[in-house]
Symmetry: C2
Subunit: 342 residues, 2 copies
């Protein structure tokens, strides 16, 4: 079935059929109905390939994911998908599958520069997508990784300072400050932190927020109260065990896996959670609700990140200017059982 067939069957020209399909011009109700009826009966669906070739846009947004198995990816793509569908856009997914090589090696992303830019070229110049959303699996700075392109490019979850990109992510510094203020409000003064690797973007941003929250309360965070782990369960256990020497009343672990390790270390030491020590995690991964006690943790609104990334990219496709280079999505603390409340 082609537009030509529809035209023939309804006794009008292909132009008229096109006009009714796209509502692009007035057509007499009588003809319009005839056309609509024929389309209905024949089950005709316009050939988007032909249309794309003609109008020089595809209504497809290219999604380049570092790895779809990365924990934030599905929720982000879910958000992108919801917004895109609502606006009549399709998603061409290119999964870079870098989980194994990128795992815990944030800085090795540079090694993939060529691969990433090639994938983008293919999406852009081959598949002719109208724009690209790059979905990171870590929140980090990837400035300089993606070459400049002449179509809208937005980065979700990671950020980049390049002039031609937009980013949408969350605020490590702010939410970490919020965590500390919560603990402070509950009367904690001896607060320990289990950070990620020292030279890592989220670790540095979060430390900054933590230190600021202390400062603004007229307190300081002593070095003996912070340990740097590697995001894994074991390092959470080890760090927490070491931290216990300083007799903290609360521990903020920078992810749920390390928080899980911390919980076990605290329990092994014969202390109760949250009566003796409060613990708060980060990410709200699935495991956090299966720990004992159930882990209070920070939740990043990943779906919203996807939604906003899609929204931004569509705005830019329409030619609207988006001033905010980096949009920040609000995070929140999920209250469960590991923080003792006053």
């Amino acid at each position: 079935m082609t537009i030509k067939e529809i035209a023939r069957l309804s006794g009008v020209s292909t132009a008229t059929v096109s006009y009714v399909i796209n509502n692009s011009r007035n057509v007499t109700p009588e003809k319009r109905n005839r056309v609509l009826k024929v389309i209905e009966e024949s089950g005709y669906t316009p050939n988007l390939i032909a249309k794309s070739l003609r109008v020089q846009k595809t209504d497809i947004i290219g999604v380049l994911a570092e790895d779809i198995r990365g924990f934030p990816s599905p929720a982000i793509i879910n958000g992108i998908s919801e917004y895109a569908e609502q606006k009549g856009y399709n998603i061409l997914l290119n999964d870079l599958r870098m989980l194994e090589t990128l795992f815990n090696q944030y800085d090795h992303i540079g090694q993939h520069k060529d691969k990433i830019n090639e994938a983008i070229s293919l999406l852009l110049y081959g598949a002719k997508v109208d724009a690209i959303i790059y979905v990171g699996m870590f929140d980090r700075d990837i400035t300089g990784i993606i070459n400049e392109i002449d179509k809208p490019l937005v980065i979700a979850y990671s950020i980049a300072g390049d002039t031609y990109t937009h980013s949408v992510t969350y605020d490590n510094e702010e939410i970490s400050g919020t965590v500390i203020r919560l603990l402070l409000n509950e009367g904690h003064r001896r607060i320990a932190v289990i950070a990620g690797p020292h030279d890592t973007f989220p670790t540095q941003m979060r430390m900054r927020g933590i230190e600021r929250a202390f400062r603004e309360s007229g307190l300081t965070l002593d070095n003996t109260f912070v340990r740097y782990g590697n995001w894994e369960y074991e390092s959470g256990y080890i760090c927490a065990s070491a931290l216990l020497a300083s007799a903290p009343t609360a521990i903020f672990a920078m992810n749920d896996l390390m928080a899980a390790g911390a919980i076990d270390a605290v329990k092994s030491a014969g202390l109760r959670i949250p009566e003796d020590i409060s613990i708060i995690g980060f990410d709200n991964r699935e495991i956090s609700s299966f720990l004992h006690p159930r882990l209070t943790t920070v939740e990043i609104d990943l779906k919203e990140i996807g939604l906003r990334a899609a929204q931004t990219v569509l705005k830019r496709i329409r030619g609207e200017k988006v001033d905010e280079r980096c949009q920040v999505i609000q995070s929140k603390i999920i209250m469960r059982e590991t923080v003792r409340l006053l």
Copy 2:
């Protein structure tokens, strides 16, 4: 940059350029090199849209996912992506986002019949994908849900008996038998099972495998040793508590969440795992390695399911006949700490 430009710059016809790009005919080395050089220098990438329109195929496979957030989806899509990329295919992703509505309501899929078939039509007749892979989030029978189409259709993770579909999934019955035989070999005789909802496809298949394994060992599974849960943690806890009355030495829970509940119930009863009671789960979800003790469980090779689905679909695109209507991927048991070994 178009093929016309390349032709002009290298002083040949567009036909010749096309011949060298596609290696579709002999071209004198001299001309070929000239063309290649121009392409290289100009960074030309063929317009796949135009090519698709002309050759009536897109080299795109449409992936229709019930929900990308469903736990098996990312790994399956990872497999599809790997195979597709290797063969030069792209993936157009349509995420149905049915997680909330489908959650634990296996049979309500029928309500989505229209939505699913519409999405398929769009993919097929609009976007002109060459084939479709339907990625289920539950392993269940969806016969009759997807209308017949004239392009290859393969279903991953779920199965369908329709004559025009191929499925690739795992064997519930076999792996469940394997679980029971493992337990039997380790000397267990009082084996209890925490099943999913009674009228559910995987529950029935797995029960069949379990009963057969008993039968083949000359034993029978007493009704008092089985409880039907709802896949959630709490129901695992409740079922296990009830089961304890029969003094089992081993419990097979049909998913990791219920196994987690069972572990806690057993521990609450003052029994040790695995010394007093062995527990084995299903799915190898992330939580299973964070439970105490770490959960021994069944792992389904999801990536392989994706790989095989892609392979099957590409075979069918090439016109090869695939006899096996339902391909079965081998599952295995991940040995951790909840099964006492002899």
